[in-house]
């Protein structure tokens, strides 16, 4: 049997769409939603409920529906969509859900993107109020964005067959939209839900661009787009949702909101059933009843909770043979799956119930203005006792509300509000009024007035559902209040009411009402729960947008990167940088490659790409004074042409970074930072300059990427450098350790620094990044006769660890002082002040049992300790708690030492040198000997080659 009307509805009856639901094949038409197409086949039952497994149907026609959750299975698996908002397309396969869907196991092939948009006036909602507001603002010349969640403008007009200005309302809507779309500076976004409203006019909206096309969605076109809208003024014309009344067994399929049934009729040409009982507290359901009756639905009875039915509407009903019973309510329903009947009783229980057979129950408990975005914008809400709903309770300077979102129910009044606030918003954005927009005049037979506020009909509390999606009942609410909860926020969390996909659009207000009744308080005194984004569900894929795959996090590369790739380097992520980790030869793993790279470097010559080191140019008359404050050691005494190693501490005296300081000129230095801290240290310097020492004549400029930096390391490095820098005297006397020279390397202007992070004779060659690859290749060629070996970060780590040089972030963790690292020599005793100095006098800093950097040599020289291992004192673990002495910070096999070794932070480490300690590794306790941190070339004999 079909429930499709012979005519009417905004559907294309000439085109048939085939779809599958719960394994059954059905047909529908373009213009249908999945819900309307199912209802056209008499299918009400969509899925089961999440906790109780009760059958559930379709309650509403739009995004406020609490129940019709489905899983799309084709074209692409997608969970938790509402049948009422899925536009039907050919080939759709879906099934109903019981509260939980399933994420697809395979990656979503669709494209999702984002776009920024700016406007003077943003209008949310393209119903009568929003349309008039948008057109008013547009005519003033303002940049306007109009967003609406439906696939066509019209709002509430889409669900009625009313005439506006003596013609079908759709024509009036089409005219307004046409003018908007043809006005320069106006953007109309359909299928776009404003789901989040934030400070300073920032609004997020989700546009569903190709979802409705199903299999026909064009490739390469973003399926959904997150609009990041920044607006000066906002008009919220978000409408109102009809609210049900709670009664026993109010959750059966076939029980739906009266206005939604009317929408299914007029928008989709679908009847909700054959025989309906209407239960209302206000006038609006009468219009639904009359329209449905005229379309062939047998309206068995209108049950009006008010003592008196509205005279004119009652007369109209009588003329159609519809019985109206005032002062009565639905007290319960019957049916195994779908509703088969309702039990009716007087509002004040006195006479026995009567039972009326029906397959449909249409409910109206009044209207809730949609205040979610207004509340998100921090607008205060006020309880309107006449409406029985929270309404916007204050005026905001940049957010205005129009239409039924204010609680206004009359179309003409809504449109007038739209014109007023549209004009105010444009004026507030600086635009003088344009041509006045004529207000539409409706022929609606339903005079707008609010009715009786009724939250629930007393009955079986355990079967009286407040939040159908969460299976939360009146009994749950009363349990919460009975347990002493009084705040709606607490009760929401206790009962989970309002926490499902629908965020309590139909249940929240009722829950508040029942709580107030139970507590005997006035709703005026209750604080509504806070509305939070998103207004409707937004998929993570849409939020991620294009920020995935290679665009997820920028990969920073150096100028020499293509060479590393071409030569088979494996890479390590250091911050956002890709740094060569090691360069395996065929058949080599990490350990063999690194042993080879280490050996080649210590015995002949190696080189690496050090371009990622942070570099900051420091200029100004007070540059030396400034660096004296930043570093623990003295920098102002450094002579031009010289280099000094320096340590930086935070105000707490803990090491935050280290690097070298090059004195370039009298008033100019170049400092280096660790790769990962380059930006942080520049910010740190700027912070001190801008907030504490603005009087200092110093400027800092990042030059990290201006330079390519190549450390050339090993006893043969001098020979290689001499070959490529013929004008440079590379002798130990002419080019001393910790000095620099400007010269020409491989035909390119270069700054060569003689510094070493390995203990070997080493040079650091700096050229502009454009020349990086050319100079690198020239060095490779010049070093060929010495077997020059490119090495990566792993070898760098081993070489420096053999020398006991700490790496910031590996040996340090924001609790380590320079003294802990054995670097008291780098802490000036002469300087009157520097950042961190004061903290060195703290008792905590002077404890003798601080964790200090030492070397560890496993007694078995082949045992490699896992980094991060704990260190204990005894060869057998005592009962917990076990005293932990510290942990292993670095651990490597060493070619130079012919054994494994480690660095560690150990309590009283410096005093323990020579002691045997133990490292738990899996089930064993590995004995280790504590040594000084410098394990290789303690005399520093190799530094000069």
């Amino acid at each position: 049997m079909t429930f499709r009307t012979p005519t009417g509805g905004a559907i294309d009856r000439d085109t048939l769409l085939h779809f599958t639901f719960n394994g059954q094949s059905y047909t529908g038409h373009p213009g249908d939603t999945l819900a309307s197409a199912l209802l056209a086949h008499g299918v009400h039952e969509v899925g089961g409920s999440v906790k109780l497994g009760r059958p559930r149907g379709i309650v509403a026609a739009g995004s406020e529906d609490p129940t019709s959750l489905v899983q799309i299975e084709a074209p692409f698996s997608e969970p938790m969509l509402l049948a009422t908002t899925v536009e039907l397309y050919d080939g759709l396969v879906a099934r109903g859900l019981a509260g939980q869907g399933k994420l697809a196991a395979e990656p979503d092939p669709a494209r999702y993107d984002a776009k920024h948009e700016h406007c003077d006036v943003l209008v949310v909602g393209a119903g009568p109020a929003g349309l008039v507001a948008a057109l008013t603002a547009a005519r003033s010349g303002a940049r306007v964005v109009l967003v609406d969640e439906q696939n066509q403008a019209g709002g509430a007009l889409l669900g009625v067959d009313e005439y506006v200005d003596e013609r079908p309302s759709a024509e009036w809507v089409a005219d307004v939209v046409a003018e908007l779309k043809s006005t320069p500076g106006v953007l109309v976004l359909e299928r776009t839900t404003a789901f989040g409203m934030y400070q300073d006019g920032f609004v997020l909206a989700l546009e569903k661009r190709t979802d409705h096309l199903g299999f026909a969605a064009p490739e390469g076109v973003a399926r959904q787009r997150v609009w990041r809208i920044r607006t000066r003024q906002t008009v919220l014309a978000t409408g109102a949702h009809e609210r049900p009344v709670v009664f026993a067994d109010n959750d059966r399929p076939g029980i739906m909101l009266a206005s939604s049934a009317r929408t299914f009729l007029h928008r989709y040409g679908v009847l909700p059933g054959s025989r309906a009982v209407v239960f209302t507290t206000n006038d609006s359901a009468y219009c639904a009843a009359i329209d449905l009756a005229e379309s062939g639905v047998d309206i068995a009875l209108i049950v009006d909770a008010r003592h008196e039915a509205p005279a004119r509407l009652a007369t109209e009903c009588a003329a159609r043979g519809i019985e109206v019973r005032a002062g009565h309510v639905v007290v319960g329903t019957e049916g195994a799956g779908r509703v088969t009947g309702v039990r009716i009783g007087p509002l004040a229980p006195a006479s026995p119930d009567i039972t009326v057979a029906c397959d449909t129950v249409l409910v109206s408990g009044g209207w809730n203005p949609v205040v979610s975005l207004f509340s998100q914008a921090r607008g205060k809400l006020r309880y309107d006792a006449e409406l029985g709903a929270f309404v916007p309770g204050e005026e905001l300077s940049t957010v205005r509300v129009a239409g039924s979102a204010t609680g206004e129910l009359d179309l003409n009044a809504c449109a007038r509000q739209g014109r007023d606030v549209g004009s105010e918003a444009a004026a507030a954005a600086g635009f003088a009024p344009g041509g006045q927009v004529p207000l539409p005049v409706s022929d609606s037979r339903c005079t707008a007035r609010s009715g009786l506020v009724l939250w629930r009909v007393p009955g079986d509390d355990d079967a009286s559902f407040v939040d159908l999606q969460r299976d939360s009942t009146v009994a749950d609410v009363l349990r919460a209040t009975g347990a002493g909860l009084r705040s709606l926020e607490h009760i929401k969390r206790y009962t989970t009411i309002g926490t499902a996909h629908d965020q309590g659009k139909t249940s929240g207000m009722i829950a508040a009402g029942i709580v107030a009744e139970a507590l005997g308080v006035e709703l005026e005194d209750q604080r509504p729960t806070t509305f939070r984004p998103p207004y409707t569900s937004v998929s993570f894929a849409a939020l991620a947008g294009r920020d995935r795959g290679e665009l997820h996090d920028p990969v920073r590369v150096t100028a020499i990167h293509p060479w590393h790739v071409a030569h088979g380097a494996l890479f390590e992520d250091v911050g956002q940088w890709k740094r060569p980790w090691y360069y395996p030869k065929p058949g080599e793993d990490l350990h063999t490659a690194v042993l080879r790279e280490c050996r080649a470097t210590r015995e002949s010559v190696g080189m690496m790409d050090g371009s990622t080191l942070g570099k900051i140019d420091v200029q100004g008359r007070d540059a030396g004074k400034f660096l004296d404050m930043l570093y623990t050691n003295m920098m102002s005494t450094l002579k031009v042409g010289k280099i000094r190693y320096g340590v930086m501490c935070g105000v707490d005296g803990m090491v935050i970074d280290d690097g070298t300081v090059i004195r370039v000129g009298d008033e100019r230095y170049l400092i280096t930072t660790t790769t990962g801290n380059a930006a942080k240290i520049l910010d740190w310097m700027e912070e001190w300059l801008q907030t504490e020492w603005p009087h200092l004549d110093v400027h800092c400029t990042s030059v990290t990427e201006h330079w390519a930096t190549i450390p050339l390391v090993g006893p043969r490095s001098r020979d290689v450098l001499a070959a490529v820098a013929p004008s440079l005297d590379v002798s130990n006397e002419a080019f001393e350790f910790m000095t620099w020279h400007d010269t020409v390397v491989a035909g390119v202007p270069a700054r060569v620094c003689r510094i070493s992070f390995s203990g070997e004779l080493a040079y650091e060659i700096n050229v502009t990044a454009w020349h990086g690859i050319a100079v690198w290749e020239a060095l490779m060629a010049a070093g060929e006769q010495y077997g020059i070996t490119p090495y990566g970060t792993e070898t760098m780590h081993v070489l420096r660890a053999e020398k006991g040089y700490p790496i910031i972030g590996q040996e340090t963790d924001a609790t380590v002082t320079p003294q802990d690292l054995g670097m008291s020599w780098a802490v000036s005793k002469k300087k009157p002040d520097f950042i961190g100095k004061r903290s060195f006098a703290r008792a905590e800093n002077n404890r003798t049992d601080r964790k200090q950097l030492v070397g560890l040599l496993p007694v078995d020289p082949s045992v490699l300790l896992p980094e991060g291992s704990q260190i204990v004192e005894t060869d057998r673990l005592p009962e917990p708690p076990v005293r932990m002495l510290g942990h292993v910070t670095s651990s490597y096999p060493s070619a130079a030492l012919g054994r494994t070794f480690a660095l560690a932070l150990v309590r009283s480490g410096h005093e323990r040198i020579g002691e045997t300690l133990f490292v738990p590794v899996e089930d064993a306790l590995v004995p280790v000997t504590v040594t000084e941190s410098v394990l290789y070339d303690k005399e520093g004999a190799r530094r000069d080659g």
Binding site: D113, H116, E219, A559, T701, S702
Partner: protein, 192 residues
């Protein structure tokens, strides 16, 4: 002998036509200038033949002894002087001379960033997918210059005209920027 950060992307950027004419302009001379003294700023402008921008978020351009020169406002006391390749050393000297003993700094940052010029009727649309700055001609007319984010990389964005924008990006982020641009254009290319 020299390699620019986006040399390997030339063909992929060229393939963005007709949506965007996109090309790297490598090796330009760039100097970061920090100065707030008005006389020094004027002297530097005179030395270059183009006055420094006085309004925030703008750039100036002109021609002088160094040919076409642009001066980009980067902050209340920070500017970027941009000129043709291979002029950085002489321009640095000239600017230092104009600065004299006044508080300020001049740093050669030529290789710190590379430049991508984007032109086409969709240029503002494409950038709006990743740039939160209002690029509407009324808000960002020719002569606008802002430091902002494009997707996840910092950029300097110059508006040269209704359909033409210049983007300066840190060299290490250049490939990310190019990849992002290619991706952002893909829908426009698919539709076109």
């Amino acid at each position: 002998m020299t390699a620019s950060p986006l040399a390997a992307w030339r063909d992929r950027l060229a393939a963005l036509a007709p949506v965007l004419d996109a090309a790297e302009q490598p090796f330009r001379s760039q100097l970061t200038v920090r100065v707030s003294d008005p006389d020094a700023i004027a002297a530097m402008g005179s030395a270059l033949g183009v006055q420094f921008p006085s309004a925030a978020c703008t750039f100036t351009s002109g021609s002088g002894r160094f040919g076409d020169v642009e001066v980009l406002w980067l902050g209340p006391d920070e500017f970027l002087v941009v000129a043709a390749p291979d002029l950085q050393i002489t321009i640095e000297e000239v600017l230092r001379g104009a600065l004299g003993t006044v508080r300020g700094s001049v740093v050669d940052t030529s290789a710190q960033r590379t430049t991508v010029v984007l032109e086409g009727p969709k240029v503002r649309d494409v950038l709006a997918h990743g740039c939160s700055v209002d690029l509407h001609p009324a808000s960002a007319p020719g002569g606008t210059c802002v430091q902002t984010l494009l997707a996840r990389t910092g950029i300097i964005l110059q508006v040269n005209g209704d359909d033409r924008v210049t983007v300066l990006v840190r060299s290490s982020f250049a490939e990310y920027l190019a990849a992002w641009l290619c991706d952002a254009c893909s829908e426009y290319l698919a539709v076109a």
